[in-house]
Amino acid sequence: MVISIASGKGGTGKTSVAVSLALSLDSCQLLDCDVEEPNASLFLKPLITGKTFVNVLEPWIDESKCSHCRACAEICVYHAIAVFEKNVFLLPQLCHGCGGCILVCPEKAIAEGRRSIGVIETGTSNSIAFIQGILNVGEHMATPVIREMKRFIKEDMHVIIDSPPGTSCPMIEGIKGSDFVLLVTEPTPFGLNDLKLAGDVVRELKIPLGVLINCDGIGDNRVREYCQDENIPLLLSIPWSRAIAEAYSRGIPAVEARPDLKENFRSLFRGIMSLAERKRDYDVQLGARR
């Protein structure tokens, strides 16, 4: 059972919810997939025991073998290789690692090199198996790190993914393959607008979804109305409280500042389980009918 915690708008409380949910379960895996700005470790203070570097393919060009035929520059749609009369230039930041240049080079002058763009750390915090990805500063592409992190998923455990914000590549890579996506939002015009965008993405990927309203009470009722109109289950709302906000600022998870919330998170989890199972049954039925 893989549950992704996502949101269109940043700062709505994804990490806070992911951490609190993880702490409310007996045991689980937590993957912090917000590799550009991973924060879950600030709350869980895990003991890190393993490190894996994430490498992407980078062409290594042997200029002595190069005949300057330009085949590599022509196949590269990312313009990462430029060939002049007697020189070849590689712009590693533009390279997506498709391997096209290696394939086309008639002189076999390009070898398959590797470049590290980030690291995956594994460890434990209480009963939580913790995994976080960290993108190196200055690197463009977060998706290869997130893709690699998914290999650490243990299917027989409850898995919680703290997804990157937004609605584009990193967020999609984060939630892809999940059994359920919980969208965290706040009851404001910005929150609503970005909830709609993120909801569209989740539906496009055909993953069942639900909503959690965080900082309830600071805005209006439009998020609730939207969920009703669109038939999106509203699974939990957490009122804004200065105590939770201050605890958050010091790296204290909401369920530790307010232990009574643990029961709310447990019932949230039960709600998610039953919705995800309903979808699974429906898919099985659909498959049988076909």
Binding site: T12, E37, L42, L103, V137, G138, H140, C169, D200
Partner: protein
């Protein structure tokens, strides 16, 4: 003409709130919303659409089933694991064309993919360039570059003095596209451990690309001790503090009334945002005036 990008590393620290207020305070600006994933600035500036243009992202591989001999070479060669049998996974394909090159039957071609739209609009504060990324479309960095180029062209033809860029969260591709070549980055942060952690990373990014930065601490009174930690970190690293903005629920009220905090009465918040803008403006324009005098 100057360019300022407002970023934060961590999301939800108040980038858009600050940018909208700056749009009101700036004289003669062009506004660019480069958070194309989850654009919100239009909710405060109520733009009137002038022009809409399609955005084509990376192309998408498409398999001609009639020609395909099911040899499986494409699936094997694809580094993005985007081909499964006869299916191309739209969200994984990066349009590299390697499959089309390798296919012995020439059964694969690359198709244009409509990945969103970008717009030029009129607002009460000045012209605005913004965009909407298609559902589950990729390549937001390329769309950011498009928005910035359009804003630059507009600023040049209409003789505008400054481009105000609302940036995305994070440190990756769209952020790098939003800050490349700007005159100043304003990093809006909050006094939380996450805010501080993410601020450090985003300042490493601006440093990496040699872009001058200033910092503004939003909701500073939520944790005054962390605010002091942030400020002393900035001091140590030679990064000027542009402002401290207190927490006030009136900020959300301003948003609901479709007004920036520079227009809606938010007490101390309004005052502090104005002071922040003064410092940013001084940095951007005083140095250039000095340079002009020397010339």
């Amino acid at each position: 003409m100057k360019q300022l990008t407002v970023i934060s590393g961590k999301g939800g620290t108040g980038k858009t709130t600050v940018t909208a207020a700056f749009a009101h305070l700036a004289i003669n600006p062009v506004i660019a919303d480069c958070d194309v994933d989850a654009a919100d600035l239009h909710l405060l500036l109520s733009p009137k659409l002038i022009k809409q243009e399609p955005f084509y992202g990376t192309r998408l591989a498409s398999i001609d089933i009639e020609r395909c001999s099911r040899c499986g070479i494409c699936e094997e060669i694809c580094r993005f694991r985007a081909i499964h049998g006869l299916q191309v996974d739209n969200t994984s394909c990066e349009g590299c064309e390697v499959c089309a090159y390798i296919c012995p039957e020439k059964a694969i071609s690359l198709k244009e993919r409509l990945s969103g739209y970008w717009f030029v609009s009129d607002t009460k504060e000045g012209p605005m360039v913004h965009a909407k990324l298609g559902i589950a479309a990729e390549n937001s960095g390329k769309l950011v570059s498009l928005v910035r180029q359009a804003a630059k062209d507009l600023a040049e033809t209409e003789k505008k003095d400054i481009i105000l860029i609302d940036g995305p969260p994070g440190i990756g591709c769209p952020v790098i596209a939003s800050i490349g070549g700007v005159d100043l980055v304003l990093a809006v942060t909050e006094p939380t451990l996450s805010g501080l952690h993410d601020l450090k990373r985003i300042l490493e990014v601006t440093n990496h690309f040699h872009i001058p930065a200033m910092v503004c601490v939003n909701k500073y009174d939520i944790n005054p001790e962390n605010t002091r930690t942030i400020e002393s970190y900035c001091e140590k690293n030679g990064i000027p503090i542009a402002g401290r903005i207190p927490y006030d629920p009136a900020v959300t009220k301003a948003m609901m009334n479709v007004l920036s905090v520079a227009e809606y009465p938010c007490g101390q918040v309004t005052e502090e945002v104005k002071n922040t803008w003064r410092k940013v403006e001084e940095y951007l324009f005083r140095y250039s005036c000095d340079a002009q005098k020397i010339q």
